[in-house]
């Protein structure tokens, strides 16, 4: 799979897609977008990168295991929900404060949580599939088993 074209373009596309996913995440605040779609785009970027560079490289670049990213995301989303409950409001109610002239609230925290869950879950699936396919191609395991 690893050709010069894919390697070169893969790096470029990965960088652009990851950046674009952050834009989608933040844009979701008032417009179409948000954590879910942002997470999918980010995961897509990393996977395209890994197609060129190999999944081992991608895992190393991530530093954190994909499933742990998902768990961390779930934790962040829960914190966003619980903080409203601790403030005496129904679960998941948005809490707002003004930092340096702009509104900041817990909904963005929740969205970041979703973003991480989607990245983690998607990458866990796709990288595992990629590695499995790699083993099949290399003849390490038989395809019919």
């Amino acid at each position: 799979m690893s050709t010069l074209i894919l390697r070169t373009m893969g790096r470029l596309l990965a960088a652009v897609l990851i950046l674009f996913s952050l834009y989608m995440l933040l844009r979701g605040h008032n417009d179409p977008g948000g954590g879910f779609i942002g997470g999918l785009i980010c995961a897509l970027g990393i996977v395209i990168g890994s197609l060129g560079e190999g999944s081992r490289r991608a895992r190393r670049a991530l530093r954190i295991a994909p499933r742990l990213i998902a768990a961390a995301g779930l934790a962040v989303a829960l914190i966003a929900g619980f903080s409203a409950a601790l403030a005496g409001k129904p679960f998941l109610t948005g809490l707002w404060m003004t930092v340096g002239g702009s509104h900041v609230g817990t909904p963005i925290l929740f969205d970041v949580g979703v973003y991480l869950v989607v990245i983690g879950a998607t990458l866990a699936l796709l990288l595992a599939l990629e590695e499995d396919a790699g083993r099949v191609n290399a003849g390490e395991v038989e395809e019919e088993e």
Binding site: A65, R67, L68, A71, A72, L74, A75, L78, G81, F82, A84, A85, K89, P90, F91, L92, T93, G94
Partner: protein, 505 residues
């Protein structure tokens, strides 16, 4: 604690526990996620009991998630039925979590078994507490994904085979569910169940409403494994580890039954003769096919799987008769059945550990070797068959009384005969696994010695569940009262609707 906390904690706790279990699993110690699992389910049990007592004291409770008013936001609501189901979910979740400490191997634990288990419980609890149809769909998805992962985790061939059948048929149900939701939303413009109760009365399209009702019936029919949509269940429940089979058997089909009860008392009551007539036929056919299927099986978990189906028939029968007494019976049956069924699977698992197989013709001699296990098997088995004074006797008694009350002779007869055939199946397991000598001689029983810790983890949940069965059997009155209140609320859901919609007319 305020109602707001009590309503979302049963859902949020298992999610938080899942995160913790996962991180604890990565940190290295393989025992940590087990304890997180047990601790979380114990906390859930505590919170859900508090919720039930609040609902019993003050009537149905509701909160609006994120502060968005119903019917626009998502409402969490608990009436007696919902609260009872959450309690029983947490309780059986706790029992199976303890059992899993000795049942789930290190490999599966490492892949996140305990975290997935808690996500499954969160999905089930969410389905019981939501007041919104689309949200119900989401919880069904959470359940489906978690249960599919649990089913295939560890990945031997049989597991993948069973898992594939399970997920394929459940996806069909999901699509039907989604179509029905779409049609209903197009018709009424709302998916909040309390709001639907109000608006559906003003919609003048009886044909379309009945069509939608039957679509929902099909979707939840697959989920709850009623005739003729049950075949995914016996194809998949006997493949995963025992802890997984047990929690599936206890909860998954019952969520379908719960959804049927909720929708066909709160939302679709316009053409009761038609919809509940279908339900009654389904109930009878489900009971008979389930019990006959079980008679043909020769493997412990397959027999028990078919019995889930036949027992589902009893619950649907209670809903179909649609009288206060019948609904009381259905709710009582749900509670009794979850406890008993989970327990039977757990006992089957222990029997396998001691004798080496689930196949009845390859095992035996359990009574001689472990008489205490024989007693622990007999309690849920006789209760399932409806022998007094155990919980199943009262459940069947109430349902049959309800059917005689409305002179539904046929279904009453079917229920009685199926009860008898259940005794036959249970005595088959008794004779083959417990009474007859082991084909490989007495030495083969208990060849694999269990450590003391394993024995405690395997037997404690069985004792817990069996004692609940006995308590319900000997002192059924408080449980009948609870079910009666619940039936009352189901037939006259004004309080439920009021608490969800708040000040709205």
């Amino acid at each position: 604690m305020s109602a707001a906390w009590l309503l979302f904690l049963p859902i949020a706790l298992p999610f938080a526990g899942a995160v913790l279990a996962f991180i604890a699993g990565r940190a290295g110690d393989r025992r940590a996620p087990q304890w997180v699992n047990v601790g979380t389910t114990a906390l859930m049990t505590l919170v859900s009991l508090l919720l039930l007592s609040a609902v019993w004291r003050d009537g149905p409770q509701a909160i609006q998630m994120g502060g968005w008013a119903a019917p626009f936001g998502i409402t969490l609501v608990a009436d007696i039925l919902g609260a009872v189901m959450v309690v029983i979910t947490a309780l059986s979740g706790l029992a199976v979590a303890v059992y899993a400490m000795a049942d789930i191997d290190e490999g599966r634990a490492k892949l996140g078994w305990h975290a997935l288990y808690l996500v499954l419980l969160a999905g089930v609890t969410g389905a019981f507490l939501t007041g919104d149809l689309f949200n119900l769909y989401v919880w069904f998805e959470v359940m489906l994904i978690a249960s599919f992962c649990l089913l295939v985790l560890g990945g031997d061939k049989a597991q993948l085979d069973g898992g594939l059948r399970y997920v394929a048929l459940n996806l069909v149900a999901t699509v039907m569910f989604l179509m029905a939701i779409g049609l209903l939303y197009g018709l009424t413009g709302t998916l909040n169940m309390a709001d639907l109760h109000v608006t559906l009365k003003t919609v003048d399209a009886p044909g379309l409403v009945t069509t939608i009702a039957v679509l929902f019936l099909g979707a939840f029919g697959i989920k709850s494994a009623v005739f003729p949509l049950f075949f995914w269940l016996p194809a998949s429940y006997h493949v995963p580890p025992v802890a997984v089979s047990a929690i599936f058997a206890a909860l998954l089909t019952k969520v379908g039954v719960y959804a049927l009860i909720r929708l066909f008392t709160l939302v679709f009551t316009a053409d009761v003769d038609y919809t509940h007539g279908i339900l009654l036929v389904i109930a009878g056919a489900t009971m008979v096919t389930g019990v006959l299927g079980a008679a043909a099986q020769n493997q412990v978990r397959k027999i028990l799987s078919f019995h889930i189906i036949s027992q589902i028939g009893y619950m649907v029968m209670g809903l179909a008769l649609y009288t206060p007494l019948a609904l009381l019976g259905a709710v009582f049956y749900l509670v009794h059945h979850i406890i008993v069924k989970a327990n039977l699977f757990l006992v089957g698992g222990v029997a396998k550990r001691i004798t080496g197989s689930f196949e009845l013709d390859r095992i035996g001699g359990l009574y001689k070797a472990k008489p205490w296990l024989a007693v622990l098997f007999l309690i849920p088995a006789l209760s399932l068959a409806g022998i007094p004074p155990l919980s199943g006797f009262w459940a069947k008694l109430v349902l049959i009384e309800a059917s005689l009350e409305v002179e539904a002779w046929v279904i009453a007869g079917v229920a009685l005969v199926v009860g008898l055939l259940t005794v036959f199946s249970m005595s088959k397991i008794w004779l083959e696994a417990f009474w007859k000598p082991h084909p490989d001689g007495d030495a083969a029983v208990g060849a694999v010695a269990l450590t003391r810790g394993e024995t405690v983890a395997l037997v404690a949940p069985i004792v817990l569940l069996a004692s609940i069965t006995v308590i319900i059997g000997l002192a059924p009155q408080p449980f009948l009262d609870l079910a009666a209140r619940s039936a009352q609320e189901l037939l006259a859901p004004e309080a439920y609707v009021r608490v969800v919609l708040g000040g709205l007319p």
